[in-house]
């Protein structure tokens, strides 16, 4: 597994290529890319995190995914700092022999990241700044995996 928490942007093509580089046992790579939406005149999104715990929490989430599915490679990148609408926030890429495991693990990692990794978003708008509230739908999405779905 490979985890990065960084202010800099990243380049998706090489990240995806790296998940199967030099091997021929990968049948499928599922990825997710999260972007800043410009809803309601958003000027920028500020991403705060808990240095030290962040990497630990992401590693733990990936270990749980690896225990559930036969994964060949996992990459997680999460940006912090000030991001503009349209910019990349998060990338999760999972390589496996078959597509079902790659899809499931990629979605699992995103769902757990959304509810267990210590990141917080603050919206900068023309009317001022406000912290983003956690969404119940994110808790529900993560809870699906506990129910064995």
């Amino acid at each position: 597994m490979s985890i990065s928490v960084q202010t800099e942007d990243f380049d998706i093509g090489p990240e995806i290529a790296a998940l199967s580089a030099g091997r021929t046992d990968v049948g499928g790579v599922a990825t997710f890319l999260g972007l800043v939406r410009g809803d309601g005149g958003l000027v920028a999104m500020h991403l705060e995190h808990y240095p030290g715990m962040t990497e630990k929490a992401l590693a733990e989430i990936i270990v749980q995914a690896q225990a559930r599915w036969p994964l060949l490679a996992v990459r997680v990148i999460h940006r912090i700092g000030r991001l503009l609408p349209g910019e990349r926030i998060v990338f999760v890429g999972v390589a496996s022999t078959h597509r079902a495991a790659a899809f499931a693990a990629c979605e699992f990692i995103m769902d757990y990241l959304k509810t267990r990794a210590p990141f917080w978003k603050k919206e900068e708008t023309p009317a001022g700044a406000r912290w983003v509230d956690a969404r119940e739908s994110d808790d529900a999405a993560a809870a699906r995996w506990d129910a064995g779905n």
Binding site: K56, I89, V90, K114, K122, W131
Partner: protein, 85 residues
């Protein structure tokens, strides 16, 4: 018992405090829940830690529950539900 407490995001702003070192805790404060109550009892903005407020916590950088024990040298963190991704 000496511990370090970190506060993040909205909670940090409301409390006006990012981090504090506590050199001595009262004898009864041996769990995360008891620590939260004790901090809340400071009054004023610390009511942000009151029961019913949506606050999450970690002990030594791992998510933890109220009954989780705390020990000398621990790094405790309080923060709102996470919103990354």
């Amino acid at each position: 018992m000496s511990i370090r407490i970190l506060y993040f995001a909205n909670l940090r702003e409301v409390l006006g405090c990012a981090e504090e070192e506590l050199e001595a805790l009262p004898a009864g404060v041996v769990t995360l829940g008891a620590l939260r109550e004790w901090l809340c009892a400071r009054g004023g903005d610390w009511a942000a830690l009151a029961p019913g407020k949506s606050v999450r916590a970690a002990v030594n950088q791992t998510l933890a529950q109220a009954q989780n024990g705390i020990a000398e040298g621990d790094e405790i963190a309080f923060f709102p539900p996470v919103t990354g991704g």
